[in-house]
């Protein structure tokens, strides 16, 4: 850990020092987790919004709306940019947010291990305020990451899906999720994600320092409603496909 105690005069010595102090401090790393977390939450919401189009059927020409949506993503920005340009920008940004989020989580976890060290309580101890969600952020995060890798291989690149055809989003989803072990995997992973964002969406206000007694019930409520909505939305898709409703 940085042992330097900077006076304001030293702090003025340039952006490098500014970057160093803040982005290596644990409070700064939590700030990075919160900012990237917001980006990831926004992505999760947008992603669900898109996926729910699986329920909206076809247009007059018989094209699935979800296939049209996928195509629209490639043409984001209309004719302003080359095809796929904005999508690539978004993907790179998303990957960067993921990497920063996980990097900060790893660094902080290591520090916390050192701080707790070998000095664990020998007798059992009671939890008075933490909850299942808050205590499984790291474990749940790893589950989400592993699922994400499978998910990309399954429905983005198609390596894990023998009947994959690029662009046929509807058919690909049905082909993949009508295999029940895959559907179960999707459901388990989305439960893990819901726990993660239930704690994360509340926690980020505190990490960013915007928490205030007046808003706390709001941020609790918002986190609960948001996590529940994401959970219900994400679960509805594998359930509906397994049950043959779409």
């Amino acid at each position: 850990m940085t042992a330097t105690k900077r006076s304001p005069v030293q702090t003025r010595s340039g952006w490098r020092e500014w970057l160093g102090g803040f982005f290596t401090s644990s409070v700064g790393l939590k700030w990075i987790m919160a900012i990237t977390g917001i980006g990831l939450l926004g992505y999760i919401a947008a992603h669900l919004f898109g996926n729910l189009k699986i329920f909206t059927g076809t247009d007059a020409a018989g094209n699935y709306y979800i296939d049209l949506y996928s195509e629209a993503l490639w043409h984001l920005g209309g004719h302003l940019f080359p095809e796929g340009f904005l999508l690539t920008v978004l993907r790179v940004g998303l990957a960067a947010a993921f990497i920063l989020h996980i990097w900060a989580a790893a660094v902080l976890t290591k520090r916390n291990r050192v701080a707790r060290g070998s000095t664990r309580y020998r007798a059992s101890r009671n939890w008075a305020a933490s909850n299942y969600a808050s205590r499984t952020m790291r474990f749940g995060g790893v589950i989400i990451l592993l699922f994400l890798l499978y998910h990309l291989a399954d429905l983005t690149f198609g390596w894990a899906n023998p009947e994959f055809h690029h662009g046929d989003v509807f058919d690909n989803m049905i082909a993949s999720l009508s295999r029940w072990p895959v559907a179960v995997l999707y459901m388990v992973a989305n439960v893990a994600l819901a726990f993660h964002i239930y704690h994360g969406t509340w926690s980020l206000f505190r990490s960013l320092g915007t928490a205030n007694p007046r808003y706390d019930p709001f941020s609790r409520g918002f986190a609960t409603v948001f996590a529940a909505a994401i959970l219900v939305g994400n679960l509805s898709i594998p359930i509906a496909i397994l049950a043959g409703w779409v």
Binding site: M1, P8, R12, W18, T119, S203, R206, N212
Partner: protein, 252 residues
């Protein structure tokens, strides 16, 4: 009441410790937890055994010296209460009570239930003060303070530095202690000149010894003074703001 006590015994910092079980008889309901330990120590003295070392001073919940894990709860089962103010009426005849020292890398055991909390002193030295000229006492109320800020600063200043927040935290973070000690100054006019240097210095000193906050809230639940984790959020905010303020200060 008669009690069985499972207490952590450790001869010194470098020796391994273990739990030892003792029976204490006829403990009064009115005794405080520390008086019950005194009673056990008298028994041990009479039997020629080494008494149990534990920290204490004021025994009225203001000095912050006392503090042990009691049946897995920092400062025991009653919320908002330091160990010295916990009364034996909270326990029943025949109970087994497990007593363990605070555990954190930053708080090594010195002996039995006594731990070294000096990293807290390092944090205070880094910024938990204001610099003023001493001399004749200034007039009271010469500087106006908004009522809300004064109340809030008072709530933070209630911190007695016992270390229960660190002991309770799964990450051994000292954010509640540091935030309380920082915000009771940062919220008041007298704390403003050093506010932004204080924020950086205290946070970065804290991080030399302690883990990082994951917003579990265990510290707030353990705090004998019920200090709110909102102060941690405000410390985070001040630390971020300080990155800009310290750059701009020379030209203000």
């Amino acid at each position: 009441m008669d009690l069985a006590l499972k207490i952590w015994r450790q001869a010194g910092p470098d020796t391994p410790g273990e739990f030892a079980t003792y029976i204490v008889r006829e403990v009064s309901e009115e005794a405080s937890f520390l008086e019950m330990l005194d009673q056990l120590n008298e028994d041990l003295n009479n039997q020629g055994e080494e008494p149990i070392a534990f920290d204490h001073d004021c025994r009225e919940g203001i000095c912050g010296m006392c503090g042990v894990m009691i049946n897995g709860d920092p400062h025991g089962p009653q919320s908002g209460t330091a160990t010295c103010q916990l009364h034996m009426r909270k326990f029943k005849n025949g109970d087994t009570i497990t007593v363990e020292p605070w555990r954190a890398s930053a708080f090594p055991v010195i002996k039995d239930l006594v731990v070294d909390r000096s990293p807290f002193d390092r944090i205070i030295e880094a910024g938990g003060f204001i610099s003023i000229n001493t001399g004749a006492a200034p007039d009271a109320n010469i500087i106006s303070v908004p009522k809300e800020a004064a109340d809030s600063a008072m709530n933070a200043a209630a911190c007695i530095g016992c270390g229960a927040c660190v002991a309770a935290c799964p990450n051994s973070a000292a954010n509640l202690f540091t935030a309380a000690k920082m915000q009771h100054l940062n919220l008041l006019p007298q704390g403003q000149p050093e506010r932004w240097t204080r924020a950086v210095a205290m946070v970065e000193t804290m991080e030399e010894y302690f883990g990082s906050c994951t917003n579990h809230g265990e510290c707030e639940a353990a705090c004998p003074k019920n200090i709110s984790i909102d102060f941690i959020a405000w410390m985070n905010r001040d630390y971020v703001k300080a990155q800009f303020k310290n750059v701009a200060k020379a030209s203000q």
